[in-house]
Symmetry: C2
Subunit: 494 residues, 2 copies
């Protein structure tokens, strides 16, 4: 049996209070290419033909009793396609807001852990002859990059349908292991635990020592000293580093950095990739810098309108893939993160994007100085029980309402397909990410590039950001403002 990594498992453990560990996507298809066939039937038969390439669709968890150790994957002997593949509709007129309402509600519900951790909803009743597809899958089984890979398997690059290799051998479901077997595995894992913790603590201390500049970023990013068990060991066992002396410069408080509920609001919109690219070239920054600058502008306006813009700049957390070439086809999490300021205290758009650019360049240098595997090691050593308790305590005490957050917002930029994708001949028009929020982090901006568009999904806690649809216009205004400023500078320079 394959065991979940500590990082994979952390997305299960985070499920307490209002936190949910799954992610999703919402895509719209043009039904013209179907030539009268049913999108639902086309998609279903496509999935059935490609199940052997979609590992997460048939594997399910077996948990270790009493949370003694991380769970394992087995091939589900009770796999039932009807449970996962669903058909639903929005009422007329079938516009974006009604789709958003439906997706928000479905996204607010945890997946059933006794089955493979995914659900697909074909959504009908849309205006303009479209059909939508909402896909939901647990973050413990894929990350952003492997999610994008699944999309490539699921859909065709050829409108007439791709040729898919047949399975090399027939699928073999597993038996569900008996409880006694899982307890034995848990105890075996526990016996080896103390050694693992000591080794990881020693290695972290050494790496920090060797790469001094990275210390702040690491401590702030992985919250090492705040882990109930690992934090203590780190402080006492690390021979050359005192974690308490690592400077903590938390992000300012905002209305969305509070304790969340399980309910969501979801706003989505599509923007022109060439427009972002033109701005980036004119100013001389990266594409990701411009995405962050436009996000920062939108957040600055949003908080300004509410009279709640903090004096200090907001801090964004940016997930970074650490997937190596050999891991390219693996369905698991290979991700770390860096922090970057959003310069929301700066009124001038050019000055803002340049500050963002400098901060990001510095964060990336630090991150590259750290071995990719180190950052995920800590999640391997604490037992699931301890981590789950920490998550539950945080949710129950609403501790995050009373302290400054380590960062304000996640901004995630996932590279998606550059060519059109099809299902049964129907072209996918847009491909919006539907990500997750967390305790103290009630707002998440994720963007997927698809063809010549950037498709944005802004997901929020329903209670903390009830007016999330404001971001659609605020992003449009943010890009226009940046374009105008870039144009003005170009004219001046010429």
């Amino acid at each position: 049996m394959q065991q979940l990594s500590g990082l994979d498992n952390s997305f299960l453990l985070m499920e307490a209070g209002g936190q949910l560990g799954h992610v999703g996507s919402l895509s719209f298809f043009d039904t013209a290419g179907l030539e009268g066939r049913s999108f639902k039937d086309a998609l279903r038969s496509t999935i059935e033909d490609r199940l052997h390439l979609l590992g997460p669709y048939r594997r399910r968890l077996v948990e270790v009793p009493l949370d003694l150790d991380r769970p394992f994957w087995i091939e589900d002997p009770d796999f039932d396609m009807d449970f996962h593949f669903r058909h639903i509709a929005v009422p007329s007129p079938g516009d974006d807001h009604q789709v958003s309402e439906l997706v928000s509600r479905i996204h607010a519900r945890a997946l059933d852990r006794s089955k493979p951790l995914w659900e697909l909803y074909v959504i009908e009743g849309l205006e303009n002859g479209r059909v939508a597809l909402y896909s939901k899958i647990h973050h413990c089984t894929i990350d952003g990059v492997s999610g994008a890979q699944m999309t490539q398997v699921l859909f065709d690059q050829d409108p007439g349908g791709d040729v898919i290799p047949l399975p090399e051998e027939p699928w073999q479901p597993d038996d569900i292991p008996r409880t006694s077997e899982m307890v034995a595995r848990g105890i075996a894992g526990l016996v080896t635990q103390p050694g693992r913790i000591a080794r990881t603590a020693y290695r972290t201390a050494r790496e920090l020592w060797e790469s001094n500049e990275a210390a702040t970023a690491v401590a702030r990013t992985i919250g090492l000293d705040r882990l109930p068990l690992a934090g203590g060991i780190f402080r006492t066992n690390g021979p050359e580093v005192d974690a308490d002396r690592i400077p903590q410069t938390p992000a300012p408080r905002t209305p969305f950095n509070r304790s969340i509920t399980p309910h969501r609001r979801f706003c989505f919109f599509s923007m022109s990739l060439p427009r972002f690219k033109a701005v980036k070239r004119t100013i001389g920054v990266t594409l990701n810098d411009t995405v962050m600058a436009v996000s920062g502008a939108a957040l600055r306006s949003y908080l300004g309108e509410r009279g709640e813009l903090p004096e200090d700049p907001l801090v964004a957390m940016i997930p970074v893939s650490v997937r190596s070439e050999t891991e390219k086809n693996e369905y698991a999490n290979r991700v770390t993160s860096i922090l970057g300021e959003l310069a929301t205290d700066e009124a001038d758009p050019i000055a803002r994007v340049e500050r963002i650019h400098r901060a990001m360049a510095k964060s990336k240098r630090m991150q590259q100085a750290m071995p990719a595997t180190l950052l995920t090691d800590w999640t391997e050593v604490a037992t699931p029980l301890i981590l789950a308790q920490a998550a539950r305590i945080a949710a129950r005490t609403k501790i995050l309402d009373r302290m400054n957050p380590p960062f304000n917002v996640i901004i995630s930029n996932v590279p998606g397909p550059r060519q059109s994708l099809y299902c049964g001949g129907a072209e996918m028009q847009t491909y919006y990410p539907v990500s997750a929020v967390a305790e103290g982090q009630g707002l998440n901006i994720t963007v997927i590039s698809y063809k010549d568009r950037l498709d944005f999904g802004v997901i929020a806690c329903r209670e903390l950001v009830p007016d999330v649809w404001k971001f659609k216009d605020l992003f449009a205004e943010g890009l226009e403002e940046l374009e105008k400023a870039a144009e003005a500078r170009k004219t001046t320079n010429e």
Copy 2:
């Protein structure tokens, strides 16, 4: 603050594993009477006008920390109509099976305990110019009879709209009590607990002694000796009764008397009330006897087709309202239950209904010999923590897969409105109950009488009864068989 009764609270405590404590209804409306207005808008403004008569819609729970005592109700200061009132659709063709699929999925999800415990879904996209309404509310806040009362408040008896009295005083939301206050209340409750337990045990023993015939029914119905705490006290403290000597005759095992999942299947159909009444008159039994006989016939065929009909007759549990006249307008649980055999081992339909009739008459005599309040007293004395743990242990160990059940199926017969009800001029055509299943009880048959129809809702665990829609035809066949047999006997007697 008003505190939940032990019985009300038991519907919260049952929520563990696959068990959910809410109930619902699915009603269909003819949109012709709307004269072009939107059903959704009409319903929403009706609710807003009548909120002062719909107590459960604005009250929410405050739980006592550490489950020290039963929760309390407060008027929710954060009440948000948008959260509860929802709008959705089924894909084309919009038939009963698609509605069933949607309702099953929504019904499979627990209500959020931090808000008032209800949700309403206006369902569009139906064939034949209809609109449907699925209503979901927690059983801790109403029982079948008070649910039917809410329906009377919500809908009009006059197609042109009823006259509703204005609120006598403006609504006053409460403050959410601080944790420390709730802990103090919990400890205060606990201190008085031992006395309450002793008094209840003494009273039960005395009542059992005085009404000897009732002993078996009581022990089997409320499972007194199986409660972890109360059972022990009962066995040692009861001066004149030894619970171990009360005969236990559990029901036979069936495929649906097993551990359940949280997922559901829902089958609904409407039958003619005059046909049931004609049969009852011919045979000389009650209306409820004929409902049970037709249910028994359907269950006999269903299990027979699967080759799993037990030799012993199935046992049904029938909820009985113990609401007094003075409690008539209260939103709370006033319900107990009796057991009755379904004579599924009997091939002859007349012999079957007569056995059911005799068994029910006997059960009712026993039940009437017991004071109505006694049966609910036991749920008042055990602390919620103990009851919740018992529910969780039952779910986790799947103990019910290894023992015979106390009964096989709940058959609930709720009297509904006799006249047509309207909303915004749209007539309610049918009114199906969507009830709950429980550990070891994967099938529930509930029927509401409405106008000249009996509207059946058969709710089941998705995994134990995947083919629940078979019951629609099996009930039709069961009624026909009984009608023919009654007709034949009438001819013979004449």
